[in-house]
């Protein structure tokens, strides 16, 4: 049981990060129907900037929490700037172009950002200084670290904050109006370009926080880290229904949990010896004959994605995809 709870905690932490990154994808998609493939790179830049700052301050003798906060405080504006710059320079000129053009541009921006980061931060794996002491708490027999608790708390707080922003403020109303129909929104006096830029900036800020969290949690950052993370988060956004903000949150958490449970249990579940089916030679004396091991961890997440798309093409919570195409 405690192992199950542990896997659940692992999955939720991972999923919370996916959810935050997925929000960046889904917000942009919701508003201009663009899959911003460069969003994973924004997360990476967030981690890199935080690395530089934390590395520089590690020896200064400040309390670890303050160092990480300063790191995040530097990463967020940098990422916001990157988010704004790419919207302004790469996507706005293509606002009226066919949809394929900005999509390919997004891939281009992603490659450019990745290689810029390579030039700035080198191609090495950067190891975050281990300044945060490992504090652990027991929770139903499972172990949860202070960092994990912080990540979970922060992610839920950010999701709640974003929901408030979108559903309770003037900017949020303008964003939803633009998402529904940019032309009519403009007629109603909404500055559409500003709203779109704001969407990119907010998404980038969330991405920056996600980057700092991933960096400090795993202790490593590298210029390629954004691509896989971005892909998983994108899958999470699609899983929840792309363009739908609560969907991205649900999709991210679900994907994380499925991945953790999948990797944790698939080996045991497909151990043929449990069912008396395996070859006698390997099953003898409590041996194992495992059909699928934890190497199928990533496959698991995407199998769930395919299943959801087959049976619910608009994603778990997505409803208004059809009316846009």
């Amino acid at each position: 049981m405690d192992i199950f709870v542990q896997q659940l905690i692992n999955g939720l932490t991972l999923g919370a990060v996916y959810a935050i990154v997925a929000l960046g994808y889904t917000m942009v998609y919701g508003i201009i129907q663009l899959i911003n493939f460069a969003h994973g790179e924004v997360v990476m830049i967030g981690a890199m900037v935080a690395f530089t700052v934390i590395n520089a301050l590690a020896a200064a003798g400040l309390p670890p929490l303050a160092v990480v906060l300063i790191g995040a405080g530097c990463a967020i504006p940098v990422c916001m700037l990157v988010g704004y710059a790419m919207e302004r320079m790469a996507y706005r000129p293509l606002r009226l172009a066919p949809r394929l053009a900005p999509l390919i541009t997004a891939i281009g921006v992603s490659i450019i950002l990745q290689h810029l980061a390579m030039l700035v931060w080198s191609r090495n794996v950067l190891a975050f200084p281990q300044i945060i002491p490992i504090t652990t708490y027991s929770f139903f027999g499972a172990i949860i670290t202070g960092v994990q608790l912080t990540i979970l708390g922060l992610c839920f707080a950010m999701m709640a904050g974003l929901a408030l922003l979108v559903y309770r403020t003037r900017l949020g109303t303008a964003m939803r109006a633009t998402a529904q129909n940019p032309l009519v929104a403009r007629l109603m006096g909404v500055d559409v370009n500003r709203v779109i830029a704001a969407t990119f900036i907010i998404g980038a800020a969330l991405g920056a926080v996600a980057g700092v969290m991933v960096g400090t949690y795993y202790g490593v950052a590298q210029y390629t880290m954004g691509s896989v993370l971005g892909l998983k988060a994108f899958a999470a956004a699609v899983l929840g229904g792309i363009g739908n903000i609560p969907g991205a949150m649900v999709g991210g958490l679900l994907l994380g949990v499925v991945e953790a449970l999948g990797a944790g249990y698939i080996g045991d579940l497909t151990d043929l010896c449990r069912y008396g089916l395996g070859p006698a030679a390997s099953c003898a004396d409590g041996g194992h004959f495992v059909l699928f091991g934890s190497n199928y961890q990533d496959v698991f997440a995407f199998v769930v994605l395919i299943l959801v798309l087959v049976f619910r093409p608009s994603g778990l919570l997505g409803e208004r995809v059809g009316d846009r195409a």
């Binding site: 192992i3 542990q6 896997q7 692992n10 999955g11 932490t13 991972l14 390579m118 080198s122 191609r123 090495n124 794996v125 190891a127 200084p129 281990q130 490992i134 652990t136 172990i143 670290t145 795993y218 202790g219 490593v220 590298q222 390629t224 880290m225 896989v228 991945e259 953790a260 449970l261 999948g262 990797a263 944790g264 249990y265 080996g267 045991d268 151990d271 409590g286 194992h288 495992v290 091991g293 934890s294 190497n295 961890q297 990533d298």
Partner: protein, 407 residues
């Protein structure tokens, strides 16, 4: 119709072969003409990942080879009566087998005389087929997968030990000193990681130690929590991971975070000083093995020259690529030719005292009597604890004493 096509192809191939054969003798004549003092340009290729997760190791390898080439130039070697001018052609294979073969072909086309590399087993194995076809000798200083020299290629050599020597070494050390009852073996699904993990599993099983079903990640995995939680649930008292340091560091750190008290042991890919940075205090007590002798046990002269030239200490395999490049140069000197076909027999017969000790190759191109070193991490520093050679374990301090006496 078909037959005539075949004939045409054969003819084309024949012309190609003859064409190539004719071209070669012309070359030295062309280089000879303009220079007053006859000189000969000899290109030596080096391939390793210069981008990606293990670029730091790739650069380290390249530096080793570069040092050897520059020393050879400074020594003003004469080959065939001409001043030999060596150049190092360094290529990046991104640790990717596909890129590795492309780069290999590029070097073959550039008519390099010999190759030092690649770094990874996964890139060296497919590339070796291309070098073999072109008849160009290749010496790797770090690819430890046994398959490399089992392909029957006459041009492939390595100055480093094999996984099936290294795997048993770390596994038997683990079994003897830590006496685990149940071991979890994890790998990163690369040719190297899987290869060494298989050897460890085999040795452990032979010592009647139970091994859990293999767990796998990838060479980019940073989240090992799911796998480790499972390992924790099974109460394994030792963990072996076959993979590189960039993934091994997070693995170790997360294992300790989950409260796993088992002994962690790694192969050479994760046996670097970077482990302290990557895993922090969690790295303490780590056991790991390196094929060959540790860089700090390499020849003093080499260490000083390396430090002076590159302003850093060698990380891992630089002494082996240094020896690799020197072996090529040495064989060319002996054969008095930079023609691969002429100096290859000399290379196979090498008996050379390099920075990593006496080097001679067996029939397959593997280094005879390769040493394996077991390290342990203590207070953030990797320190050698034992040397294993030919199945015999020697305490490191004693080994160094014996080596010192021999010198």
């Amino acid at each position: 119709m078909k037959r005539s096509k075949l004939a045409l192809t054969l003819l084309a191939v024949a012309i190609g072969v003859i064409g190539c054969g004719k071209e070669e003798p012309k070359k030295p004549a062309a280089t000879q003409a303009p220079a007053a003092a006859p000189s000969i340009d000899i290109k030596i290729g080096h391939v390793g990942p210069l981008t990606g997760a293990i670029a730091h190791l790739g650069k380290d390898n390249e530096n080793g080879a570069r040092l050897a080439v520059e020393e050879a130039n400074a020594a003003k070697i004469k080959i065939d009566g001409k001043d030999a001018k060596f150049t190092l052609v360094a290529e990046d294979d991104q640790a990717d087998p596909k890129v590795g073969t492309t780069v290999a072909q590029k070097l073959v086309d550039a008519k390099v005389a010999g190759i030092v590399g690649h770094l990874n087993s996964g890139t060296t194995i497919p590339a070796s087929a291309i070098y073999n076809q072109a008849g160009i000798p290749v010496i790797t200083g770090s690819a430890t997968n046994p398959k490399l020299t089992e392909q029957g290629f006459k041009v492939v050599f390595r100055t480093v030990g094999r996984d099936d020597q290294q795997g048993p070494a770390i596994a038997s050390y683990l079994a003897d000193t830590k006496k685990p009852k149940l071991v979890a073996v994890i790998d990163d699904a690369t040719a190297y990681g899987e290869g060494i993990a298989n050897e460890v599993e085999k040795t452990l099983k032979a010592a009647n130690i139970k091994v859990l079903p293999r767990e796998k990640g990838t060479d980019k995995t940073t989240d090992w929590k799911a796998v480790l939680t499972k390992v924790k649930g099974k109460n394994a008292d030792a963990v072996f991971y076959g993979g590189m340091d960039a993934t091994g560091g997070p693995l170790l750190k997360q294992g300790r975070e989950l409260g796993i008290k088992a002994v962690f042991s790694f192969g050479d890919g994760a046996c670097t000083d970077d482990m302290t940075k990557l895993a922090g205090a969690a790295a303490d007590g780590l056991l790991c093995s390196q094929a060959g002798l540790p860089p700090q046990a390499a020849d003093k002269k080499f260490l000083e020259a390396y430090k002076k030239k590159f302003n850093v200490d060698p990380i891992l395999y630089a002494p082996f690529t240094y020896d690799g490049a020197n072996l090529l140069i040495e064989a060319m000197k002996k054969a008095n030719s930079a023609d691969p076909a002429k100096y290859l027999p000399e290379l196979a017969k090498s008996s050379y005292k390099g920075a990593t000790g006496q080097i001679a190759f067996d029939g397959k191109g593997d280094r005879q009597d390769a040493e394996m070193t077991i390290f342990t991490m203590k207070d953030g520093k990797l320190g050698p604890v034992a040397i294993i050679k030919g199945g015999k374990t020697t305490d490191y301090a004693e080994f160094m004493k014996a080596a010192g006496a021999a010198k």
